[in-house]
Amino acid sequence: MKTLKAILLMTLIYSSQAQNLSLNEIMDRVEKNEKIPSSITQVDQTIVTSKGKSRVLSIEGYSKNSGDDQLSLYTGPARVKGDKILMLNGGDDIWFYTPRTDRVRHLASNARKQKVQGSDFSYQDLEQRDYQEDFEMDLLGSEEISGVNHYTVLAIPTASGPDYAKLIFWVNQENFVVSKVEYYEDALLSKTLYASNVKKIDDYWIAMKLEMRNNESGSKTLLETREIEVNVDLDDSRFSTNFLKRN
């Protein structure tokens, strides 16, 4: 009986806490989860075209400065092995290298909207967000997804934000992971991101599986993190154009 009372009390405290959080506090907690100072990840990227053909790419990801600088190294299949994408300054500078031509290409400044290696993620989708700065937000309410309560947040991008008309986030009220994002271009729902298989690594709740569904083309891309190390000491030289050709 005592245990039951304790659980009830905890639930009450928790739910009152959840209800009392302001939008800024909610998004701060989201950022706290997302802004990992540095990391190394092993990811499988599966691209499923609208015709149902799938292509699996293996990627080794390096991230520094809380995700502002990112390096993706493609490790398989043979066709893309050694291809590298370097994103610096929060996605303002994007470089692409392929060993088949041994050329480093600087992508145009507005390439943020481009698909990353043909996936349904654009470069801007993978950029680390500063929610307060990149969006004007509004707390719409709460909704249940798979039995868990979520905050629903409407986000209108500011000048520094991504190039969408609006986004809607579903933030898990228990771990503050963004479980779902809807991306709108004009009035049309363009893409939907689903995050699942959430694990706690050190102090961070991380979704190990991200699925981006493209509602316009019918294709989808899965990003499944096989391994992740956080707070890793990474040399700055790794995040330079010289590194692309050198390694």
Partner: protein, 928 residues
């Protein structure tokens, strides 16, 4: 009232049997003559409400624009043979000028030679300028590289849209031919001027024939002078074209397959299949049912009369359908089989009762009167319930169900009318003639002395005939009575079993899937479907086009520009592709002037041995560009582009030393003998340079392109016949039969313009309509049936009891469909309201008898009426089973669905109904 009417029918049919038969025959002949006009319309559009704006728009546009209706001739095989095939076939089809306006199979290069550069997007034109700065081989390849990198690698749009992907494929094709020609000159395989000209034309103007990127499929498009609504001429045209293409294809070893794609070919093939199916399944159903009847009744004359009555009822219905509707669609094409299955039931009830009464010693008038008195009410209510259930389909919006409801509802009434008039008249006529013959024999026998040799013969004949008269026996189903008795004793047990089955089938049935792929419902092996699949695979676009008309050319430009950015559109075309706007013209003129200046001022420098390394460097740069483009295409799933690139850079999955690399091979040859290379390339340059310069000068004309300067073959594709409207055509990127694709494609089309129409949009609306209509029809049928039964039984309780087995049986039907792997589709979804209207009769007949005889005679009710119910369900099952043998897989699935439904509802009626009657009558201690 009802019994008086039935008694009157019996009386008239017996007393005036000859008159009834003569009137019936006359009416049948008249209906038969009218029915000659009935046609089958297999077009999906014909299932739609014809007043729907999308259908109206579609009809208007196919009438107004030549290009909105087409026949696409496709051939697969080797490139050179495909081109020869197209060259031979196109003029032959063009000669069919009573059917076609014209035939298109080549790009109009004359027009492109004059205006190609003016038609390039300003952004791309800007990057193309440098390609014309120097026409020497080394510099020209450098220019190609600059242009390529700017357009596909550096530009943020890359190969993101279908239009850009298609442009990239065309560019790669030009590069491939250019490298091959360099190789030809280097190896002295072909050093002619003509070869150099081909390289230039391919580089500047692209492929001349309408070929797939891999050059293994060619298209020839014929534009008919009529729409698919003119099924007779459509059939003649398709047959003529088939004769031409098959005869021509035989001449070329490199042609692997030919056929016609597009809606006209599909409709012609569908029509043929539906017509054959309709005849075959009707005949099969008829034979099966009559044979079953003969076996059950152990006699042939009565089943034959039942068959004649049934045919008469169907002919009346056909005449009615011709007068009121004028055509059959995919759904109504099966009305014959449906009526065979249902109409025979009325005859079974009549004959069964009549024979029973005649065996009991009644004369034929009394036998018929008694039959009509006992079974007539059930037949009448059953027929009206079924026909009203069908008629209720007329409230639906889609024409398929609406017309089906009308024709089948009327058909049920017509076949019932024949059962109440023609059949009893025939039975009476047969009986009277037989009795007259006996009487005549008796009289003759009485006059003959028994010593007469004729006497014995006549005596034997008389005995035989009399025996036949007395032998009128009906089949017995004692088991049904025994079963009902058992159920009566343990109703809860049987109801529990039924409930368990219901729970199980609900669990399975709710998982049933819907197959939206209309093509998978077509008869297997249709050439048009196979060629359409190949076309989509090879060209990445579906021939199921959508289109919209614009009042002005500028309006068509706005629509086309918007459509080009839509990811689900594979290709967009409009007249604005050929007529730049004033703004575009102004923007482009400076670049064209610059190109012209380069072409006028610069001469092509000959290649020297010192420049060979630079040439090799440019060639490798070109290869690198193609590799990067291929990487982008590979990761983005743009396989056609990746495959095209592989033709130049080789398959990356093959080891580098075994890989065919055009550039590597070429540079190897250059390095082996630089002197020879310089000589060969200078010869190549001497041949190509004047042609390249002349073509480029012509292409860079700065004059305004106006509608007047557009050649007729292009103009007629985009301008309405009266010249007032402009057509914008959009090709979906994929097969339209995937609902997810179709849903978002339709939404994207609506965003572009509300007026857009075409097969994909019509199909999407049809799916939505049928989904909605199916539910409305099923609910409405249930309500109509319940109301009718309540009116007839004057008891809500009785009507509810009758309906419970029906509802349970329908649930079991859906569950079993899932278990045996039948998916719902656009045709068999109609089975749900149909089965309710059809199978309600089983409960109705039993309940009618039950009301007369009560719970105490449950065994005899099931022995007698149960027998008739089982027999009628067997015949209905056989009819729907026969439909299951249709080559049209959609109709076959409808047949299977209904056949399953007949079995499950019969089972529910035989098991659940006696249990319910037993429980309710014990509790209330009242008769219903």
């Amino acid at each position: 009232m009802k019994s008086k009417l039935l008694a009157w029918f019996a009386h008239v049919s017996v007393k005036y049997n000859k008159a009834v038969l003569i009137i019936g025959l006359g009416f049948t002949i008249a209906c038969g003559v009218i029915s000659e006009q009935l046609v089958i319309k297999a077009n999906m559009k014909d299932l739609m409400p014809q007043s729907h704006p999308t259908v109206k728009g579609y009809n208007e546009m196919t009438e107004n624009f030549e290009a909105a209706s087409n026949v696409i001739i496709t051939a697969l095989g080797k490139t050179e043979d495909l081109k020869k095939f197209a060259d031979e076939v196109a003029p032959k089809i063009e000669k069919l000028d009573q059917y076609v306006y014209r035939v298109s199979y080549k790009v109009n290069r004359d027009f492109l030679r004059k205006h190609a550069l003016m038609l390039i997007k300003t952004k791309n034109l800007k990057t193309a300028v440098s390609s014309y700065e120097h026409l020497g081989l080394k510099e020209y390849i450098n220019g190609i590289n600059d242009n390529f990198e700017e357009t596909y690698i550096v530009d943020d749009e890359g190969i993101s849209s279908s239009e850009r992907e298609n442009n990239a494929i065309t560019s790669l094709d030009g590069i491939k031919v250019w490298l091959k020609t360099m190789h030809d000159f280097l190896t002295a395989r072909d050093t002619t001027e003509e070869n150099a000209r081909i390289a230039v034309d391919n580089m500047l103007l692209g492929e001349e024939y309408l070929m797939s990127p891999k050059k293994d499929m060619v298209l020839i498009t014929a534009f008919p002078k009529f729409t698919t609504d003119d099924i007779d001429r459509s059939t003649l045209l398709i047959n003529e074209i088939n004769e031409i293409i098959y005869a021509t294809a035989d001449k070329y070893d490199g042609i692997e397959k030919v056929g016609i794609a597009g809606s006209m070919a599909l409709i012609v093939e569908e029509n043929k299949a539906l017509s054959e199916d309709s005849n075959f399944t009707s005949l099969l159903a008829f034979i099966l049912i009559i044979v079953t009847f003969i076996i059950s009744f152990r006699m042939w004359s009565s089943p034959l009369l039942a068959g004649i009555s049934l045919i008469v009822g169907i002919i009346w219905t056909t005449g009615f359908a011709t007068l009121l509707v004028g055509h059959l669609n995919i759904m109504t094409s099966i009305f014959g089989v449906i009526l065979i299955g249902l109409g025979i039931d009325f005859n079974i009830h009549v004959i069964s009762g009549y024979l029973e009464n005649r065996s009991a010693g009644m004369n034929n008038t009394d036998a018929l009167k008694t039959t009509f008195a006992k079974a007539g009410g059930g037949i009448l209510v059953g027929a009206f319930t079924t026909s009203l259930a069908f008629f209720s389909l007329m409230v639906t919006q889609n024409a398929g169900m609406k017309e089906f409801g009308l024709i089948s509802g009327a058909g049920v009434l017509f076949t019932m009318l024949a059962s109440f008039t023609v059949l009893p008249a025939m039975l009476a006529f047969q009986d009277i003639s037989r009795r007259r013959k006996i009487l005549k024999l008796k009289k003759k026998l009485a006059t003959l002395p028994y010593q007469n040799p004729e006497f014995e013969k006549l005596k034997v004949r008389l005995e035989k005939k009399t025996r036949k008269q007395e032998k009128l026996k009906t089949p017995s189903f004692q088991l049904l009575g025994v079963l009902s008795e058992k159920i009566k004793k343990q109703p809860v047990l049987y109801l529990s079993l039924a409930l368990a089955l219901t729970v199980l089938t609900i669990l399975r049935g709710k998982e049933i899937e819907f197959n939206y792929d209309f093509m998978s419902l077509e008869p297997p092996g249709l050439t048009s479907v196979a060629m359409q699949d190949s076309l989509i695979e090879k060209f990445n676009t579906s021939p199921d086009i959508v289109f919209v008309s614009a009042n002005t050319m500028e309006q068509s430009r706005v629509i086309a520009e918007e459509a080009k950015d839509v990811p689900r559109i594979g290709l967009t075309s409009s007249i604005s592709d050929f007529v730049p706007s004033e703004k575009q013209h102004k923007e482009r003129v400076p670049y064209l002037s610059q190109i012209r200046k380069y072409l006028d001022e610069n001469k092509a420098d000959t290649l020297t041995e010192n420049e060979v390394d630079e040439l090799i460097e440019q060639l490798y740069r070109l290869e690198d560009n193609v590799i990067e483009l291929a990487q982008m295409a590979f990761t983005g799933g743009q396989d056609r582009l990746d495959e095209k690139a592989e033709e130049i850079i080789g398959d990356p999955d093959v080891p580098a030393n075994e890989r065919m690399r055009m550039v590597e091979e070429l540079t190897q040859l250059i390095q082996d003998d630089p002197q020879r290379a310089v000589k060969a390339f200078n010869l190549f340059q001497r041949h190509y340079e004047p042609h390249l310069r002349a073509t480029a000068i012509s292409m860079s004309a700065t004059g305004r392109i106006t509608l007047d300067s557009i050649p007729e073959d292009i103009l007629s594709q985009y301008i309405s016949k009266d010249g007032s409207q402009f057509l914008v055509t959009m090709f979906p990127k994929e097969q339209i039969w995937n609902l997810n694709f179709l849903e978002s494609f339709s939404a994207q089309m609506q965003q572009i313009d509300q007026q857009i129409t075409g097969t994909p949009i019509i199909y999407y609306i049809l799916i939505m309509l049928i989904g909605k209509d199916g539910s409305i029809a099923a609910i409405l049928t249930l309500i109509v049936v319940l109301l009718l039964l309540t009116l007839d039984f004057k008891s809500l309780k009785a009507s509810m009891l009758t309906m419970i087995p029906l509802i349970l049986g329908t649930i079991w039907m859906v569950g079993i469909m899932k278990m045996v792997g039948i998916k719902l589709n656009l045709l068999n979804v109609m089975g749900l309201p149909l089965i309710i209207g059809i199978a309600i009769d089983y409960g109705v007949h039993i309940m009618h008898r039950f009301k007369i005889e009560g719970i105490g005679r449950l065994k005899s009710i099931f022995n007698s009426t149960g027998k008739a119910v089982v027999l009628t369900s067997i015949t209905t099952f056989l009819a729907f089973g026969a439909l299951g043998f249709s080559s049209h897989r959609g109709l076959a699935s409808l047949g299977m669905t209904l056949a399953i439904g007949i079995v499950t509802i019969l089972l529910a009626t035989l098991v659940v109904l006696p249990a319910l009657l037993s429980i309710t009558n014990k509790k209330s201690n009242n008769q219903i």
